[in-house]
């Protein structure tokens, strides 16, 4: 993996005027990552050197949303854009599209839903994604992320970040709590975008199928934390995700997401209303419920998503997952690491909204 010299650590003195990478990303815009010291490229786009094999320089496949558009405007195949669009719609209506056992509908996700998120990601939240090259191009890995922001929009942004900025355009399979699966339309959409149920069996099954799985061990404690608790990670569940990673022997990649807190600053919690509606919390933000449905529009905060160095799990003995003390210690150390990444990301981000 990265050594000390070419690690893309964020240098604090360079934060206001970071030297940016000169490459263009897969989505065709300038890379926002910092260039590595003494170079022109960031660690993602750096030409591979001996001993740094994990970043692919192969011509990246065209970006998700563009693909269908390219196909639509490409008349070489002898059929017009309208015909193609009609064929596409006809296929959807007839139900002639593949899904996997979890219900992940790749076509719908990549070609329809992901492009819809693009303006939100690029223009509204102006997300800067760091270290996405640390995610392997193939094979299983477990992303462990902090969670905040009242509604789990941070999860969606992370999914988009990997789909759009990773050289292999990998899909992130997230695991969602039961509230996701009991909510009409949300559950439907969550299935089709590749998500699964937050339980050990599902995480394990996805890893077995070589997928990139994301967990948010803070759960509702994370998304539902108040404004005064912002940037502070809550307890990390019961360590179940560590056990899964240890048993599946897949690396854990810590992820820090900064910005979701300010998008929906939760200044209060209407507990009575929450228990009436059987929600884990009922958020009160500066605009919600004051402005009604308009209050559901997130504030335009700036975001930073950083993917950390992978932590190999196969360095531990086979039965490590059964040693509860070890699991708790490892859970704490990963939590600390993400906490430090959040603080670092806050410094890097600079202004909250501007």
């Amino acid at each position: 993996m990265h050594d000390a010299a070419n690690n893309n650590v964020i240098r604090l003195d360079a934060r206001r005027e970071p030297r940016r990478c000169v490459a263009t990303t897969t989505s065709g815009r300038p890379c926002r990552n910092n260039a590595v010291e003494g170079g022109e490229y960031c660690s993602v786009h750096r030409r591979p050197q001996a001993g740094t094999p994990e970043v692919s320089t192969a011509e990246p496949p065209p970006i998700a949303g563009k693909r269908m558009l390219d196909e639509l405007v490409d008349n070489d195949a002898g059929s017009s854009a309208i015909d193609r669009l009609r064929a596409f719609m006809g296929r959807r209506l007839k139900g002639d599209y593949p899904i996997d056992e979890f219900g992940y509908d790749e076509e719908l996700t990549r070609e329809i839903l992901m492009p819809l998120l693009r303006p939100l990601y690029e223009r509204y939240f102006r997300v800067r994604t760091l270290g996405v090259g640390r995610i392997p191009n193939e094979g299983p890995a477990l992303l462990v992320s902090n969670h905040s922001g009242t509604i789990p929009i941070d999860a969606v942004m992370m999914q988009y970040a990997v789909a759009a900025e990773h050289p292999a355009e990998r899909v992130v399979r997230m695991v969602g709590a039961d509230l996701v699966w009991t909510t009409p339309f949300v559950s439907h959409l969550a299935r089709k975008t590749g998500n699964a149920v937050a339980c050990d069996e599902d995480a394990f099954a996805l890893l077995e199928r070589d997928q990139l799985v994301a967990v948010f061990p803070e759960g509702f404690k994370g998304v539902g934390k108040g404004w005064s608790e912002r940037y502070r990670l809550q307890r990390f569940g019961r360590g179940g995700f560590i056990e899964v990673a240890l048993r599946a022997r897949v690396p854990i990649i810590p992820v820090a997401i900064v910005g979701a807190e300010e998008a929906f600053p939760m200044v209060g919690n209407a507990r009575t209303l929450a228990s009436l509606l059987r929600f884990p919390y009922f958020p009160i933000t500066p605009t919600f419920p004051l402005l009604g449905p308009l209050g559901l529009i997130p504030l335009p905060s700036r975001w930073v998503i950083e993917f950390g160095e992978p932590i190999a799990m196969d360095q531990y003995p086979d039965d490590a997952a059964d040693d509860k003390m070890f699991v708790f210690d490892l859970t704490d150390s990963i939590r600390d690491r993400i906490q430090q990444m959040v603080y670092k990301g806050l410094k890097y981000r600079g202004g909250t909204f501007l």
């Binding site: 209506l93 007839k94 139900g95 899904i99 996997d100 056992e101 979890f102 219900g103 039961d178 509230l179 996701v180 699966w181 009991t182 909510t183 009409p184 339309f185 949300v186 559950s187 439907h188 299935r191 699964a196 149920v197 339980c199 069996e201 599902d202 099954a205």
Partner: protein
């Protein structure tokens, strides 16, 4: 073994039992098939010796003894309360019937293999259930109702039996809902409705097993399967919305409370024999893992879920017009030339 197997099939007039008996006709490894049920199978089957008996009666022990049965295939577990005259009769049949049958089998020293038909309904339904359920997933009986609960209770008796008779190979096959040109299940009834009610905002994944594949699984289990519990299903899943579109039907999304009401109306007029707890199915769906059956006894579904639904659509329509009772319709279609010799995709 110097001679062929001697098999007892309970519920031989039900779809699965009858199809199995039919299949064993040409199986040289099988010497005799004794079928037990309350009504006579309406199709003549070679090799089958039919005995009209209730599995809850002591007669069953005498049959096992006198016929020198070595393999018991227990398919007499039903999910149709109305065919038996109500839920309590259904429970009596499913649970007490299994208990009595096993008590009889335990005494019979010649019995070497017991195969029980169970259902994936034992896994229950809910937002916290895994997306793909394995055989070892804990089922919490407290959350089960109706058919699923019956199956789970009957299974505990079978497992107790396996502990007491360690020399017997006990196999439990948990099947997904059957679908195909001739079988009639809650699922085929539901998908045959002119307008298919669904739950608004939910689109469960369906995973079904083709009737031929289910029969094949039982036949294989009769010969090869090592002791254990196996999920039996077709591979792949389809969303309910897609299944409805494939069948050329129209879905009717309803708010959940309204769906509940509509369900009970449909049940009362006899359009669907769909237990109300199964309405949860329309929200969460149920998908199981079938790796173990493949690894342990080489079961492989020839039809994926999607192909099974397509087969149901393409070869069933001709039979739906008949007004005869469901089981007679099933059996007559069974005898249709072509139904048996149909080529597999």
């Amino acid at each position: 073994m110097d001679r062929g197997k001697r098999i007892l099939i309970t519920g031989v007039s039900n779809y699965l039992g009858l199809r199995l008996a039919k299949r064993f006709e040409d199986d040289d490894e099988i010497e005799a098939v004794v079928g037990v049920d309350l009504r006579e199978p309406s199709v003549p089957i070679d090799k089958l010796e039919f005995v009209r008996a209730d599995i809850r009666s002591p007669v069953i022990a005498r049959i096992i003894d006198s016929s020198e049965i070595d393999t018991v295939i227990h398919t007499n577990i039903t999910s149709h309360p109305s065919r038996l005259g109500g839920r309590s009769q259904m429970k009596e049949n499913n649970v007490i019937g299994t208990l009595q049958l096993l008590a009889a089998a335990q005494r019979a020293k010649k019995v070497q293999r017991v195969i029980m038909k169970s259902s994936t309904a034992v896994y229950g339904l809910g937002p916290k259930e895994p997306s793909i359920v394995g055989e070892d997933h804990d089922n919490r009986q407290a959350n089960l109702y109706g058919y699923g609960k019956d199956c789970a209770e009957a299974e505990t008796y079978v497992r107790d039996f396996a502990r007491r008779r360690k020399d017997v190979e006990v196999v439990i096959l948990r099947t997904q809902s059957l679908i195909g040109p001739t079988v009639r299940t809650n699922m085929t009834d539901y998908l045959s409705l002119p307008v298919v009610p669904t739950a608004l905002g939910f689109d469960p994944r369906l995973q079904l097993v083709h009737e031929e594949d289910a029969i094949e699984a039982f036949a294989r289990a009769t010969h090869d399967a090592p002791r254990g519990i196996y999920n039996i299903t077709g591979h792949g899943v389809v969303f309910l919305s897609k299944a409805i579109r494939m069948l050329g039907k129209v879905g009717l999304p309803m708010l959940y409370p309204a769906a509940r009401g509509a369900g009970s109306v449909l049940r009362r007029v006899g359009a669907v024999d769909f237990p109300s707890d199964q309405l949860q199915f329309l929200i969460y769906g149920r998908v199981v893992d079938y790796k173990r059956a493949h690894e342990d006894f080489g079961f492989e579904a020839r039809y994926s879920t999607e192909e099974a639904i397509a087969d149901f659509r393409d070869h069933r329509n001709g039979y739906l017009e008949t007004t005869r009772p469901a089981w007679a319709r099933d059996l007559s279609s069974l005898l249709q030339p072509g139904a048996e010799t149909k080529e597999y995709a």
